[in-house]
């Protein structure tokens, strides 16, 4: 890709000084590395190119001035940070209002809060379970109708001829159902596309993804996932369940719906980012546990993805939500299956029971499992690389909603076509089993009483296919069928992920893995003379599924537990863990996990667990944004309005300073105030002059801030008259009087740790006299990452 912008290299790798000259054309001549310095230590060259452009204003020539007039445009790539993402305010704003409210609260009040946290978690679990149940039943019923119609059609045309009509019927049915799902996603809520796990990961990391936890998103997500699974795409409904759980949590914990304009006047205390995010992690856990019947896996997922902020009580509450969710689902599914009260039917994807004797494994099989893990890692890396290129292409060229809908329809039609062709040309016939594992057996050209074995894999919802791969008798599939199936499904799944439909990648990965795992098992049995010791190909299917899934998503702890819980057999813990470990090690050698790739491609300022290695030499001074827009403690309203209205600098936090009388020096820091707070203050017209004239005016309370949360009105909607512009505003009461600060010399990893551990949004950099010199935000930190050529810097872009 020649048009990816040049990255600034921070590595200490020796570079020819001529290299700078070579690169110049890529910059269109505007961004020539201006400063390169020779450091001691082997003549290494640092190029600090981009940093200089803005700041050296006095040096800018008239030629460059004209270039700066229009912003530079580059094609979308992974090395960008988007402006549209903001941080969550995880850190508590300890202003005077907050302290006052806390003082007023009685002991009982705190007890009630604690209890209502539990109630909210219970509700989250319950509702998530209900949604999972709804999705499951809807998919089962609708897919049942579709497959019956197609099956009847195929049966009819097998007899009289004209099977190509069945093929067209199948393709058209798929395409039209998927069209429905794609339209609601592409036109109404694009954030509902995909599995939603990357978005939830970002949210738990502390990034506010716009509209990700809205009610509308939930509705679109649920309908979308039903459409895409029923439409026969190579997708699963498990990933979206996690997103749905998170939305439910965010909604329930607030006790109101801004979309529906209903306020139940409950849980008002929870209306801030700190509390909401805790509940969202519980919701994500509930989603996982409903999807896989894995309550512990759900908790571990929440911990693994949102690991920086949790404590024992939170974990325990998350676990409660997970349990409730699983068993709500079980209860309602038991009613649906006309077996009310049976709580032992686990999860949306039910791996079925692995009998302990048929699935026993032995020490000599462990190396085989590890080898399978390596294969899974390789295939997963291939999957991710292919999907990466495809996604870049999609972002660049298929960005119009109608094109996205068309693409989804095409994928659906092609999926049906490929499946049909596979089934049509398959010669693998198997006798019908007595217990009818095959929901929709297709006979086609098989003898009577037999069915087409390829059809059990393709002519079915992906989950059922997984289950039949795990559990069908040895000899149900012949190796050729499995090989072809793996190959086609691999490419179909890879092509499908990233479409504008809401759909998960868990099930397709499991299916691919189960297919080649089973193939592996069958081949093992055939090459050894004594086939009986490798008797059960289902066991290898399970291991293959774990390997493939681990190779694609690269989750470790939570995925192991999820797999173990979904199979309901603890003895598989060791092989699954080994397999996932191998898959991750092998896969990470080539490329990152699928979710991380997508997070990167969405230009999200995501903070990883630790600062990039070799970044200790960077100090806060280089990292921070400067100069900082500061506010005086008693500031003119006009100034505030002007600052907030300035579209070019969309700042969110403003250090509050006190001017040292009679000096030109920057003033000393005394607090930090957020844009959202200022907007609420402006809206309520908390001006010094007005307070004097109307002594009885109600004092602003924390409640007023909560009522505006989370959708604070934009500054444009607040009317400030000319007279009011001259008024003054006293910020003392409202600002956070004790913001975190660091000295200029603090190293990047240290700043990073503070951010990650405390969930900060703004970190003020001060000099030795407590004067503001800069402000570190999430984007300042997230832009450094370790690339192939050492430390690289991402660019900020408008998306």
């Amino acid at each position: 890709m020649a048009n990816i912008a040049k990255k600034v290299s921070w590595s200490s790798r020796a570079e020819e000084s001529g290299a700078a000259g070579e690169r110049t054309p890529l910059f269109n001549g505007s961004e020539q590395p201006r400063l390169s310095r020779q450091l001691s230590g082997g003549g290494s060259v640092f190029q600090i190119g981009r940093l200089s452009t803005v700041d050296l204003e006095e040096e800018i020539t008239s030629d460059e001035d004209s270039l700066r007039g229009r912003p530079k445009e580059i094609p979308h790539n992974e090395k960008l940070l988007s402006l549209k993402y903001e941080s969550l305010d995880y850190d508590n704003i300890e202003n005077q209002l907050f302290l006052e409210e806390e003082r007023r609260m009685s002991y009982m009040g705190f007890r009630c809060l604690e209890i209502s946290r539990w109630v909210v978690c219970g509700l989250i679990g319950f509702l998530t379970g209900l949604i999972a149940c709804f999705i499951d039943i809807a998919v089962e019923e609708l897919a049942g109708i579709k497959y019956r119609v197609v099956k009847q059609n195929i049966e009819k045309f097998t007899e009289v001829g004209g099977l190509s009509i069945s093929l067209i019927l199948w393709a058209v049915l798929n395409a039209s159902i998927v069209m429905l799902g794609a339209i609601i996603v592409a036109f109404f809520e694009p954030i509902a596309a995909g599995s939603g796990i990357p978005q939830i990961k970002c949210y738990l990391n502390g990034v506010k993804i716009p509209r990700v936890v809205r009610l509308k998103t939930l509705v679109v997500k649920v309908c979308g996932v039903i459409c895409s699974v029923v439409g026969g795409l190579a997708v699963g409904k498990e990933g979206p369940m996690i997103h749905s759980g998170a939305v439910v949590a965010a909604g329930v914990s607030q006790g109101r719906s801004t979309s529906l304009k209903r306020d139940f006047k409950i849980f008002e205390y929870f209306r801030r980012d700190t509390e909401k995010r805790d509940f969202v992690s519980a919701g994500a856990a509930a989603g996982v546990s409903a999807a896989f019947g894995a309550p512990v896996g759900g908790v571990l997922f929440a911990l693994e993805e949102g690991a920086s902020f949790w404590n024992q009580m939170l974990t325990w509450r998350i676990f409660f939500a997970s349990m409730i969710s699983t068993f709500t689902l079980n209860f309602f599914l038991s009613i649906y299956h006309k077996n009310p009260g049976d709580l032992s039917n686990p999860g949306l994807i039910n791996f079925g029971r692995f009998e302990s004797d048929s699935g026993a494994y032995n020490l000599y099989e462990i190396p085989l499992f590890i080898a399978m893990g390596a294969i899974g890692g390789l295939l997963g890396a291939l999957f991710n690389v292919l999907n990466y290129w495809l996604t870049i292409f999609r972002i660049r060229y298929v960005h119009r909603p109608c094109l996205q809908v068309m693409e989804a329809m095409l994928v659906a039609a092609v999926t049906a076509t490929v499946s049909f062709t596979m089934i049509y040309f398959s010669n693998d016939c198997q006798p019908l089993g007595p217990e009818h594992n095959e929901e929709y057996p297709l006979q086609l050209f098989c003898a009577d009483g037999e069915y087409n074995s390829m059809a059990t894999a393709f002519f079915n919802t992906p989950e059922r296919s997984v289950r039949s791969l795990f559990h069908n008798q040895p000899g149900t599939y012949n190796p050729l069928t499995l090989g072809l199936f793996t190959l086609t499904y691999f490419f179909l799944a890879c092509w499908t992920y990233g479409l504008a439909v809401s759909a998960g990648v868990f099930i397709p990965s499991l299916l691919i893995g189960a297919a080649w795992g089973r193939l592996f098992g069958i081949l093992l049995a055939s090459i050894t003379s004594n086939g009986s010791i490798w008797a059960d190909p289902g066991k290898y299917a399970l291991i293959g599924a774990a390997a493939q899934l681990g190779g694609i998503v690269r989750m470790t702890l939570s995925l192991t537990v999820i797999m173990v819980e979904a199979t309901g057999n603890v003895t598989y813990g060791l092989p699954i863990m080994l397999v996932l470990m191998t898959a991750k090690i092998v896969g990470d050698y080539f490329v990152e996990g699928l979710y991380d790739i997508h997070i990167k491609l969405q230009s999200v300022p995501f903070l990883h667990l630790e600062a990039p290695a070799t970044s200790h030499w960077l100090t806060a001074r280089e990292v921070m944004g400067s100069p900082v827009t500061c506010l005086n403690r008693i500031e003119k309203v006009g100034t505030i309005v002007d600052i907030l209205s300035n579209t070019s600098t969309n700042h969110n936090g403003f250090p509050v300073v006190v001017q040292v009388t009679g000096s030109d020096e920057p003033a000393k820091l005394c607090g930090l105030i957020l844009r959202s707070q200022l907007i609420v203050l402006l809206k309520h017209k908390v001006f010094v002059e007005l307070a004097r004239s109307r002594l009885t005016q109600r004092k602003l309370q924390l409640k007023d801030f909560r009522d505006a949360y989370p959708r604070f009105p934009p500054i444009q909607s607040i009317h400030v008259s000319q007279d009011e512009r001259e008024c003054m505003m006293d910020l003392t009461e409202f600002m956070n009087a004790t913001p975190y600060t660091v000295p200029q010399e603090t190293s990047l990893p240290r700043v990073f740790k503070l951010f990650r551990a405390l969930g900060l949004r703004h970190l003020v950099v001060v000099d030795d006299e407590n004067r503001v010199v800069g402000l570190v935000t999430r984007k300042d930190l997230a832009r450094y990452h370790l690339g192939k050529h050492g430390l690289e810097e991402l660019q900020v872009a408008q998306t």
């Binding site: 200089s52 912003p71 050209f445 009577d448």
Partner: protein, 313 residues
């Protein structure tokens, strides 16, 4: 008898159980010498269901058992009553009859049609044994026959037969152990029609068979699938249908041929061609999405540089 080896710490209990069991056998053999051989065979724990085994193999064993039993005898109240031993005797006879019937009906499977009456009578006698109603002389045979030892042979034997019966789903074809259900009879007659049709053409051309018997075969198939959904099916019907299908598909080769390969390939290659066009056209005609770069405010770099220089010097 391996009980002795397996649980030496329960010797006392096991000994008494063993003695009781053998005394039952002894009594029976003594009371009815004509049936002696047969009976001890069917009651022998070593071969509860095996019937066709050469009886001479067991003869010495039975004899030694008998001679041993004479040595030990139990007080009156521990032995079973005559009534119960009669019941046991009848049970044995009917058991043998049923098993005989099953074996002869094993292939092709006709276990329901042929053996339902013998199963009915076996069930009858077992119900008698296991009922808690007192027989003549105020004795209940349930405890003495079924529950006095942990082998529970009579129960075991019966439950084996019961398993076979449930597995073959014969209840679906039998009406109160009297006769076959109407559905079953109808199925059998339809099946016979089809088979006669097959026989008529068997020697000649198979394509003719496929054409002429198609109607009969299709009716049979439809009837079968109706019965499948109604759950009015037993193993006999299933098996005969399987055989007929195999005849039809494998022997006579009447399955549908794969004829329309060309249209299917044409349609699917058209479908596969569409995405290529789509991606090409969107690559060529859609404008590429560009991102506007924004240059964040940063501290003046030369201060940084100065600083580094300071540090270095």
């Amino acid at each position: 008898m391996s009980l002795h080896k397996n649980s030496p710490f329960l010797v006392l209990l096991v000994l008494s159980t063993y003695a009781l069991a053998s005394s039952v056998g002894g009594n029976l053999t003594a009371s009815d010498s004509a049936d002696k051989l047969k009976q001890s065979l069917s009651l022998s724990p070593a071969a509860p269901v095996v019937v066709g085994v050469d009886s001479t193999v067991f003869k010495p064993g039975v004899d030694s058992l008998f001679s041993l039993n004479l040595l030990s005898s139990f007080p009156e109240d521990l032995e079973i009553s005559d009534y119960c031993s009669d019941l046991l005797h009848i049970f044995g006879q009917r058991y043998v009859a049923y098993v005989n019937c099953l074996v002869t009906a094993a292939r092709p499977v006709k276990v329901c049609q042929n053996c339902f009456s013998s199963y009915g009578s076996l069930m009858n006698i077992y119900t008698n044994i296991s009922s808690d109603q007192m027989g003549p002389g105020n004795v209940s045979c349930r405890d003495s026959l079924l529950r006095s030892d942990h082998l529970m042979l009579v129960y075991l034997l019966y439950s084996n037969m019961e398993d076979i019966w449930t597995k073959s789903a014969c209840d679906n074809c039998i009406k109160g152990f009297q006769s076959l259900t109407n559905d079953t009879l109808y199925f059998i007659s339809t099946l016979n029609q089809t088979l006669t049709c097959f026989e008529k053409y068997q020697q000649g051309n198979h394509t003719e068979l496929c054409k002429d018997c198609k109607n009969a075969y299709r009716d049979l198939n439809e009837l079968y699938s109706r019965m499948e959904t109604n759950l009015t099916m037993c193993i006999d019907i299933e098996d005969s249908m399987n055989m007929t299908r195999r005849l039809w598909s494998k022997n006579f080769n009447c399955s549908f041929p794969r004829e329309e390969t060309v249209p299917v390939i044409a349609v699917s290659s058209f479908m596969l061609f569409l995405p290529i066009i789509f991606y090409l056209s969107s690559f060529l005609h859609s404008e590429q999405k560009k991102r506007k770069l924004i240059h964040p405010k940063r501290a003046k770099s030369y201060t940084t540089l100065m600083n580094i220089q300071d540090k270095l010097s």
